[in-house]
Symmetry: D2
């Protein structure tokens, strides 16, 4: 299903080349100031256009269709919509029966029997992460004083990001990357044992972002190579502050008050300038495919703000569940 | 909360040293043969006693308290309970106010205000994975012909598992490991875009297992270092079979019919023979802690069957949602 | 929260006088023909304008913003939106602090701290049932061959509906009514014991409709006065057909194949031409209130199509859960 | 499914004549005093043995198997189990293929393909309400200072309950009844608009109790015969107190601080001393059925405490959602 969350609940909808993409945010406390301009900073971080991203620029103008009144949230569901325009659907018709390797074209066709909107990935498009980022903007206002920060750690195996991008552009290939997310000023005792652990909810949400292949918390995969005598985080203060943070801020699924820290692996963009082996689902024959057009060299560059949004959404839900924020929000500046 | 799943739904309960641990399995189709002996093989794989695991042996005798009649599932909730016995609670009283680094003692105390059952980790104990394994046994019967297989890939950074264990035992230290899980004969089109993607549900479930620090699907973190031209899985047949399997059997959150493949990182056991820095939550002073007793050298050795169970539970839920199995199960051999 | 359903899931949003009202329908099978014109018949039954309803006419033009492609459902979420226009918000400003008795003004203010959109009931407005009716139109296509039929049984205590309306108009008062709903050609074995019984789900959904005060299934409140010897429905055929239908088509929460039958009580419209006692929430003083304007004499007249929609939505969810319909819909007539 | 609730969540399991019946209560705040003796008063109200109830007496001894430590709740799931004993299963074998009219025998057989535990109603038995009452005992401790009170209003159409029972016993017939539930000292602003309205959640829960045929809030079905001018509840104080309470304490799905008031209709016990028409599901032929043994003359007599429990469970969930109680409960008397 296309919904996530218990008390702070989001539902996404839309397609890349359909009428719109958007999101419904339910359970947002009343009284939070919210304007169109609040979205600009995060939207521009997600936007394409920079080196390493596709030159095609979308208009990301949010229409707030419900849940906001007198420039504050009302407590009712907030629907934010992005109407699509200038979409050249014609380009995609020839791909209708020819699934692009690495994309969801084949699985979508199998699942929805050919009725899916196949244009530009349809409902599977990265365009839908715009709704996530919008919900993240709202969530970030809820989880104050927590701060969420996503950054690029490396692309194509190199921490010299700019050089790696230049090289990939030159080679007309795409490259993957690793994105790190840190959450500061985390209250103690968010999350639950077992199925609602912070890691469980966070990974659930993060794997909803297209192109993510892995997630690790704190020491992560490195933990598998460590000894217990070095991995334990010694306490250095009675508020739970630890000397190291191999736990990534979480013990037994519950926040321990230290920084939450996780990293995600982003695969290289699937569309490249290379002929690929695929099939024609209508004729039932194998075919070769060359995809024209210009694509993101490194989609990972656009992922940090999406991961931030995902993290903020998860923490907002935990904050509401833990009763550390109220259903009515009375901003200090009012 | 302590529940997971949409149509195949599990709820766990219990404590390490309380009356019992157990699980309620709701949504299991009626008509599946189920006996006590069905649990033996998987329970023995989870059991301690082998080299590298704690010598303390628990009695893992399942009591099926509901949902089974005439040796078949009835369609009503199946409650399976493990009564605890011979638990020496006295050992734990002195740890009541002294949280063990790397454990959930501190966070549990903060969350539950000191009311938690602190004996042996209480509700956070690995003993509760016994219920998961029990549910996995049931789930494996549902997802036929899918087969789930969890194996140890490496411990302490080495694929020579036995030697690594010997070395760690000698050093009186604990070590982590990596567990791989493969699911064969997967139907196409299980899972959903976005929040109910196979990766989202699987990671959600897997991070409910104590000691897991990371998960990656297919190419995983290696994808971050790869080029698009090598990462795409070319189709080699019109049924969706691909030449490589960097996708780990999943595109756009939906199974593509190839093997599902994921790996998880398991941290080293937190309890070791080393004095650690911690606090006394009652006195509010810092303290040193030396934990006596014998512990698992490598808890990762006991994880494969738990990961298998987790994977089977997730796939059972997807199978029911996808309507690829019926609510009434009529075994061929009946 | 503003969502309902397990596999066929709806989320509503919107306000009476805000930008829009609408609904997101998730889990709808792919391949169902859907056009704007499909909504006309049910929308016109919900519309005001007839005798006994308010003369203010709204434009109920559905915009299908996602989930439909080539005039068929795609399997992705269907977002249907109604943009509001010509709303005279000014009328409502003086009511901001003066809750209308019988309305949600007071409770909304208490819950949302004054941040709620108070214009015309805001999110609590009957206008939001337009989204329910839209979802009902989709649901009715899914549950074929089931047919849902809602009718007015009585208004103001009389089964001569027209006369009762005339009398109430003359008295410048409002009246309540009873709506009956029948579902024909119901498959056996929908629903679950206990918390997902058909009655539980249906009543949950029906009480989401504003102005409903009661619901009864089959014999309903009359059952309380009956003897067991007369209340039991004797079987007359081995397919489960019964001689009487006091059960209302449901035993143990599960459909028995006979007609599902329930009735709901609708209260009289709260706004009438009578001065009422209320308060000023700002000044903290008691006040009298006279509400101008023209209102529905009998809102019950507009309820049958909403109850039908509610019933169809519930049955669609049960049908999907019971696997009696497929996630890919291949209409015979296509 | 067999679970209910968002933050205060219950899952029931068990059968009438199987190993056990019971409940798992998840989300209960830590720190609530809980002993076996706390259950006695409510269990005895549910018990049979009084005039008008079956003379068969069950042993209702709760075993608290998890979630309680040092006589207080721990915050972990509370599993309470009732082991069945002295069940004469033999009596039921001959009913295996012969569904009792008015019971769930036919629908259970259709749903579960004959694999259901048919003994004494199996999972559909009223015995499972014992778990609900147990959860109600816990819930009542959470919702302090709210008080829930269920009472018999009438049986067999008469408010002289004793005389009506005598008459029915004499006639060897069973009779139905009406149960009223009142909740006092209700906080304002519990509940949500639409799908999580108090009426929606309460009716959902109440219809999970076997034998309930209808529910009405406040004015209920009488509202259908009333005029708006008399139905509106005038405010008499700025805290929201109203002169009348036709709303039943709820406006727009949200509590208004006045008493919550609802009534439920209970059907007469299905088993009576009368030959009934039914079928043999194995032979496929129609048959007559005479059910021996002694049964409840009026099951409604045992329903008030079950309805109270249902109401307390619903209110506990709303209280947790509304953040009016804390996850850690520090009793004043400790």
């Amino acid at each position: 299903m296309n919904s996530f969350g218990k008390l702070f609940r989001i539902s996404i909808f839309g397609e890349s080349h359909g009428e719109s993409a958007g999101i419904v945010i339910d359970g947002c406390p009343a009284g939070i100031p919210l304007n169109h301009s609040d979205f600009s900073a995060d939207f521009s971080r997600r936007k394409s256009g920079a080196k390493g991203t596709t030159p095609r620029r979308e208009a990301d103008i949010p229409r707030i269709m419900s849940g906001v009144f007198n420039r504050h949230t009302t407590g009712a569901p907030i629907m934010i919509m992005f109407e699509n325009s200038n979409t050249r659907s014609g380009d995609y018709r020839k791909l209708q029966h020819i699934p692009r390797p690495g994309h969801a074209d084949f699985t979508a066709n199998q699942k929805f029997g050919g009725f899916q909107d196949y244009r530009g990935g349809g409902h599977f498009s990265g365009r839908l992460t715009l709704g996530l980022v919008a919900a993240g903007v709202v969530a970030k206002k809820i989880i104050v004083p927590m701060q969420v920060k996503g950054t690029i750690l490396e692309v194509g195996g190199s921490s010299d990001v700019e050089a790696a991008i230049d090289r990939a552009v030159e080679q007309q290939d795409s490259i993957g990357g690793i994105v790190e997310c840190r959450i500061k000023e985390v209250p103690v005792a968010l999350g639950e044992p077992f199925f609602d652990s912070v890691e469980a909810a966070m990974s659930h949400m993060v794997f909803s972002i297209p192109a993510i292949k892995g997630i690790e918390f704190g020491s992560g995969f490195q933990a598998a190579k460590m000894k217990g005598s070095e991995h334990n985080d010694s306490f250095v203060a009675t508020d739970g502050t630890t000397e190291t943070n191999y736990a990534g801020g979480i013990n037994g699924g519950i926040t321990n008050g230290n920084e939450i820290l996780f990293r995600v692996a982003v695969k290289p963009t699937s569309s490249t300038h290379k002929t690929q082996h695929t099939m024609n689902m209508k004729s039932g024959k194998m075919e070769d495919l060359f995809i024209e057009g210009r694509h993101d060299t490194c989609i990972a560059l656009r992922v940090p703000v999406v991961v931030e949004a995902a993290a903020a959404i998860v923490m907002a839900d935990f904050m509401l569940q833990s009763q550390q924020i109220k259903r009515i929000h009375k901003p200090k500046t009012e």
